[in-house]
Symmetry: D2
Subunit: 397 residues, 4 copies
């Protein structure tokens, strides 16, 4: 068996299908898609990519499968799905997911592309190794009980990225106990033999283990994932992508297959100011940074077109260049992990029922939500006033 050295998990041993899959261009492309997009502008060591993260997820999936006692064929499909789970990401990962979704209706884990001509090589490798591409894509989408190991409340994706992001940012909050998590997963069947009908749970005695995932995620949100500098840069990047797509008429499927560096170079010509600012970390400043209680519900829930329209109107009122204002409204705070299943006194419960902590974390997530409006530093005052009026914010001008 082949092995690749990983900075987080040590030696990752690869089965023959994985060895072949890694050599496809579709997988090699993940070397050029950063895991944390613009977070590196805050934590400069955070240059890790979806490539090694995918290897890590594969490794943890193998560890979990050791204890789950599935038939070898299902296990082989799960391993392939774990390895390929992020292959559908566009450049800069989650940062371009909204753009792709709005223009194609597809999320990154909707990897129907595995079945299309363009990535035929991945399909061929799967089939050559006796694996069904359709079944792999369903697992990536989290379908079936065992699919939640790849994408679900207790998935190995989350376990890997928390520890990997901690390792590379230097922020320790993400260091969950992957060994324990993986050892304590169980698939509880419904009496039938079909693993698709089983449920993935943490065994008895692991409420604190499940809480630790949630807490790690919440602290990493506060300090890393939603750091305001990263959010400013991310919002600028999204606008730069939209301008590039609009000006060049690039096909979204082609866009989705680009690498991070393709974008940076493309911006030189098609979004030169934003591109230069991102590349040299000469970022917009926050004209507005307000919590949920200051924002009308209509603004929180507005769609993307309304956001863009607001940007234009704010710019006009503030008397600045139409492209110089970015409105950044995150979705309402949620906590997928709070639905994790844990066994307590022999009964499977949702973590939100089993743990007194979940409500507190939910409240903390809400209190940390922020709407941002960003612009060049010397327009901050004008933009703040205009944004207050246009977005109906309950703030002083």
């Amino acid at each position: 068996m082949n092995a690749i050295k990983d900075s987080v998990h040590g030696h990752v041993r690869l089965d023959p299908a994985a060895t072949e899959l890694i050599d496809t261009p579709a997988f090699q492309r993940l070397r050029h898609v950063k895991q944390l997009s613009t977070v590196r502008l805050v934590y400069p060591s955070a240059n890790h990519t979806r490539f090694e993260h995918s290897l890590g997820v594969y490794h943890l999936a193998r560890g979990a499968l050791d204890g789950l006692d599935l038939d070898p064929d299902t296990a082989a499909h799960v391993r392939a799905a774990a390895l390929l789970h992020d292959a559908g990401h566009g450049p800069y990962g989650h940062q371009t997911e909204g753009i792709i979704r709005r223009r194609t209706g597809r999320d990154h884990d909707d990897v129907g592309w595995l079945l299309t001509d363009a990535d035929r090589e991945v399909c061929q490798v799967l089939e050559r190794n006796g694996l069904d591409p359709v079944r792999v894509t369903e697992l990536i989408a989290g379908e079936g009980g065992v699919g939640t190991l790849v994408s679900g409340e207790l998935d190995v994706d989350r376990m890997d990225y928390l520890v990997r992001d901690a390792h590379h940012t230097g922020v320790p909050y993400g260091t969950v106990d992957t060994g324990r998590l993986v050892n304590e997963l169980r698939l509880l069947g419904d009496g039938s033999d079909d693993p698709a009908d089983a449920e993935l749970v943490l065994a008895e005695g692991n409420v604190a283990t499940a809480e630790s995932l949630l807490l790690a995620r919440s602290l990493m949100n506060a300090v890393v994932y939603r750091h305001h500098v990263s959010r400013v840069a991310g919002a600028m990047l999204e606008r730069a992508c939209e301008r590039y797509l609009d000006r060049t008429g690039t096909d979204v499927e082609a866009f989705r297959r680009m690498a991070d560096h393709d974008l940076l170079v493309a911006f030189r010509e098609h979004a030169p100011d934003l591109g230069r600012r991102i590349e040299h970390r000469d970022l917009y400043k926050r004209a507005v940074w307000v919590g949920l209680s200051e924002v009308p519900a209509g603004t929180v829930d507005a769609d993307h077109d309304a956001e863009l329209a607001a940007e234009r109107e704010i710019a006009e009122r503030a008397g600045v260049d139409p492209g110089a204002v970015v409105v950044d409204v995150p979705s309402r705070p949620g906590l997928k992990e709070s639905g994790s299943a844990v066994v307590v006194d022999g009964i499977t419960q949702r973590l939100s029922d089993a743990s007194e902590l979940v409500a507190g974390i939910r409240a903390a997530e809400r209190s940390r939500w922020r709407l941002g409006v960003y612009c060049p530093g010397d327009h901050v005052d004008a933009v703040r006033g205009a944004a207050r009026d246009v977005l109906g914010l309950r703030i002083a001008g």
Copy 2:
């Protein structure tokens, strides 16, 4: 400047007073007092001692003092207090604190002993280095604003033990960001020049930093500090100490100066069964393990004599040897860290006001509280029934 290599913080540089203090017998004794007493029976790597912990606390205090801008004389006293803060611990640290308190009225940070004949050497070293022993003991007790750096909600003691215990148990939950914590501490004065009147706070932007301390503590409580195996062994150890003291008439001051190994050997003669069981990890089992809602308030708040009386009565009713039952009632759950001071929007707040998480953690701590009754494995059923009746527990027999 001298340096000692520490497995957690790397090189710890020592000022001249520290170098001399470390060489006193009172400080060398800490090499023989384990940091986590009976936790090593669950996490076998947890053999670290109060000696290296004290060095770590000294090291973090120095780091914090770098940014606090105190006069050199106060800083020197704080450093000495940080180094000596645990010198008042008896054998097995917190495990014997209750015994010593009940028999002397003194806690481990009540280090009046520094001023007594028996440890005159420490006083002499302090005085030779221009330090006032009385002032050092006051700082160890957490008196004054700067004293809370040694013992308080945001003290460096807690920061060190969380990361150290994580390093040695292998449980990652304690890995707080000591670098950030130490960098972000501020002493906010009340306008006067006296550092004793100032308050230790975390600077603006550190709510999540403060929460991380609280969360780390709460998870470590659940998984390490209050692990049931460690609690069973700890309760047995406490009883063995009491028997040793009662049978031999050993003076409590002498007891307090013993090392862990002195106790283990003393048990051979004076508490042979408990001693052998602790040494070979052949522990009592849990006859009862119940939460707050199953226990009458009178039982939760009973004093130690009532606890011992209950043990005897349970043993009698269950028909077992009077020494074969241990009742272990922890104090009501508290959360000292929730009082940490953090600056939010320019105003100093308690963490419990600034963070939505605190209430959740408080509730989680309450839900994890357990009363335990322990005895040899073959008496579990009889003891459970008797304990239910004697302690008034709301459980099935």
Copy 3:
């Protein structure tokens, strides 16, 4: 003081000059130059950049300066030099150093560019902070005793990259004890007051400390820096750069200011086959991989033009495309670290005199030297035979 979180050293505190220097485009560009160029094709987590490495070198320099007792002005210049020491690197760092040297006569630490128009911003920041750009460039070049702290046998550059490369590759051999190294450095004067005339040495009792640097370097050479896959990819990258420069007539100064991603995109048009192969890790294979004893001295010491001529001749004889053969002849093995100065029994000695290990390491380095000839996998046999003849190798065809 500002602080940046680094995954290796924790919080790196920045003085005001450093804070400003980091914001210049010339320094921000280092975010886009990988520390280990093509090593990431072997160790996929090795995506760290010259940006965070430069911060790390600055941090270690500050630590060393704490103990060296220099005047504040010299110390400030050394800190700036440590921070800027790699700003002269071209894209992919050492991988393009040969190209730039051959076409300009300048090494990466010959940073006269600091004084030129193009990077005037760096000069302006230095001058605004009371620092002399000429003196900074001299320190970067390792001039003067204290300059060897930046570039010399015991420089902080080496200390940082060994631990950083270990952290990111996952190969532990580079984990030297930076704390001890930095604490044990001394500047031994020659009696004059000029720090330029002093010599940087490791204090008494540190022969093993110095050996550890040498051993770490030697093992990292074997397993990481000169891994054959990285060398194949690196040699291909060098040829792709040369083709790009030759075909487009790009100015070398402009080339030197490019970022890694600029090159990858430029290859798409100007070196498409090599570019695609590097991007997708579809690399040439080794037709020849032989040690010093199999290679005539003339071949080992041939200049670059002779190497290129040999490539063309081998290709012709093998009947393959002229661009499909790469000859890769490393320079003769050396061991800069063996000249480190250590104090033994009060006398400053070269490590090569003080340590019995140096000769062994030198021999090991010689035995690991390899000449490589690479080509597409299906031409390996033909190219091997042709290379044997053209290069005069003592191998079977």
Copy 4:
């Protein structure tokens, strides 16, 4: 399967036999035997024990067995041998090995005791799990090809202690790549089917891997294992044990079953001065510390009785108390690891033939050998002169 959390390897999963073996008093005793005896007086965090080390060795053995394709019965015996390999150690491990050997003729890995009455419980557990105690003891002694996995040049014992000692001392030199070492082990048969006749080797491409073990050992020797403070304390401990044994007539078999703390307490009565000095780190000083070239061969190779006689004579000539001088003559430097087998170009070679480094390391080990004579600080001059004359040292008085 049961799992125990280890600070070095994470979760160590235990097979049923291991779970039972760990519960025997003979194994639990290892909780009370420190891995590095007196090294903790130099590196205060080094309090780890033979208990967790034994778990680590078991864990690495399991990892290596995964790749070795042995029959399940042999593998089960090897796992048990790995777990029990140190159960024969006396208190303070290697520090008392010489005493036990001289008085019984047995080394710590000569665990015939497994078969005796006193440790019958271990035998019973083995037999209950279908394991042959005799075969286990042979494997512990390193007999047969597969026995060298437990005790030999490439044994998992060494791999564990190097990384564990690095983790606990904070000295990074021991961090070898256990993942790679374990993955790359092979058992090369001699054509027969008997694993006892096979040879344990490192697979092709691992000369540097083997060298890394040797280098780690050599640097750890210099900086940790043979640190002079640890050697002084160790020599004092040995003398204290001898006095205790001689004065009390304690049976050596009983001595061998003692724990570290039993000795410390026993010294209070039977070797009070040495005991107090060890406990409070108030150690003897070096009167003599000289290399091989200063010591006559007869002195290097003298037996223990001659050493003791020399001590008495030095004390008499120096006019000090007969017990106040300790002569410490280590055995001649050796390098067991240099015999490691590695495959190079398809042929199994000794590392000393395959690596140019071995000769250098051998020379370095010779150059670091030191004979020491220790005594209370105020007698250093008198003892130095007397020792020179008695031992024939080539030094100035």
